[in-house]
């Protein structure tokens, strides 16, 4: 296995940066990390790849991401206001494909949420399609494959 440690370090740094923004509710900055056509996807079916023609838990284009963030921060959502903190651990980061135009990476995430004093844990595989730019990566696609995607989830008022 040929390893590009410099690229892996850059990808790892970016994934850690994005995770830190989301845990610390830096949502506006998070919105700036995306390409215009980028999609944030949380599927219900882990074997499905045709996300546009399938029902997902979330399939957000730029407008939906902007509205999702607005909902979380504008003080109008009682559930968003009840989310204490999330702490997510990103690990097992691996670069699957790399070219000048796109980098595809996969990692493991364990997200812990404290809500009404109760701890809820979300394990997931996450796939990133990143576009390298002079200023760093932009996310073109992020697919969050929750381990219990087809089970009965608790409601979610944060961003994976």
């Amino acid at each position: 296995m040929k390893s590009n440690t410099e690229l892996l370090a850059k990808v790892t740094e970016f994934i850690g940066y994005e995770a830190d923004l989301l845990d610390h509710k830096g949502y506006q900055e998070w919105l700036s990390l995306w390409t215009d056509s980028g999609l944030y996807i949380v599927p219900t079916d882990l074997n499905e790849t045709d996300y546009l023609n399938t029902l997902n838990l979330a399939l957000d284009d730029a407008d939906m991401r902007r509205m999702r963030v607005a909902r979380l921060i504008n003080g109008e959502s009682v559930s968003a206001d009840s989310v204490g903190y999330t702490v997510r651990m990103m690990s097992r980061i691996r670069v699957l494909e790399a070219s000048d135009d796109v980098v595809v990476a996969r990692c493991a995430m364990t997200l812990n949420e404290l809500r009404h004093g109760k701890l809820v844990t979300y394990p997931a595989n996450i796939e990133y399609r990143l576009v390298p730019t002079d200023e760093g990566f932009l996310v073109d696609r992020k697919v969050v494959k929750l381990l219990h995607a087809d089970g009965f989830l608790r409601t979610v008022s944060f961003i994976f």
């Binding site: 029902l55 997902n56 399939l59 909902r71 504008n74 959502s77 087809d150 009965f152 608790r154 409601t155």
Partner: protein, 437 residues
Amino acid sequence: MSELIELQDISLKAADMVEEGRVHKSLYSDPEIFEEELDKVFNNTWVFVGHESEVPDSGSFKTSFVGRHPVILTRDRKGNLHVLQNRCRHRGATVCEGRKGKTKALTCPYHGWGYGLDGSLRALPKPEEYDGVFDKKDMSLESLRFETYQGMVFATFKDDIEPLVDFLGGAKKWIDLFAKQGGGYPMKVLGEHRFNFPGNWKIQLENTTDAYHFPIVHKSFVSSLDDATADIFDFLDGEGFVEDLGHGHSVMVMIPELVDLEADLDQPIPARFEALAAELREEGKSEDEVKKLVRAAHGTGFNLNLFPNVSCSMAFFRVLRPVSVGETEIQHVALGGEGAPQAFNRKRMRLHEHFQGPMGFGTPDDGEAWERVQKGSQSGKDGWILVNRGMTRLRTSVDGNPQGAVCSETGMRGAYQQYKKMMAAGSTTNTAPAEEK
């Protein structure tokens, strides 16, 4: 004080905890009442188990529940539907896991008994040991009586129950209107969201006929809409209504102009559906069909609550399952048209994702409110939940039913009167299995 005295009467039964305009909070939190509900309500009525489009082909199956009982909705090789208890006749293991799929047989993983999709026992290893013990044909999976209406499949443990069409009664007209979701194509399940909340099932049952909460709980959802769409959802001062349809069913009309999706087809295309209209035109659809599909894409302007576990809620099925006195599982089943243009079904799914499911812009806020109801209902030795809103301002509908304002609690009262009737009845029918505690 009188309320406290009432509660101290240990003979107070669940049925007595339902008054005309209020219900006792113990109905949300008493485990013994919950067990009684499974027995007297869920084992004694028609319970929604799925839609025919979820088992489209011979060999299709879908797992479901009637109250606490796991069941399987199947389509056998002749194309006939069945609702079977998900329990091997040998040692009781479930013979089918997973949500849905296709299979040639239902095989018990424990000792290999194999059943057909019609429930019949086809084969078992070393059958000779049963020579003279039983006849295979008597050992089919136990089946439930079921009937369908507009593709909605309802099953029951009560063999002598009235026909489904009689039970649905005044709700049938509204199911027929709801079935126009497909925009001229047969209604079809496109997928589903699943979530649970730490609260009693009746809190969800009430919510589907509660317009009063919408502008409060769903303020953040309304804020995410364009102005024209937000106006549509500003319905509390409009001409909508809630009508008690009998048998615990009710309809809440929020947007009267969207009651019939096949009427008013000459309306202009709303801005938020322009992109869909353009896609449909590109596919070669006529302007009439474009308008029909766009109007259907909205979903209907009403919630039809069918007692006890399903509602036809604007554009989707909302299905509840009581897990315990303080836990309920909910499915939000997305609907579209069988054979309809992909752009139409895609739009329906995107709209569903916007509000519904555990990550929608609406459901998490509902869940938060319900969780607080459950938590609050633990407070104090005594207390009542009010369902008396609009009680003195009723009128009679064109169908002769009690009807109140759109934000009245007319539907809740209807559901609770059906609940009261069932809970006041004697013990369970002889066909329903006893509930295990």
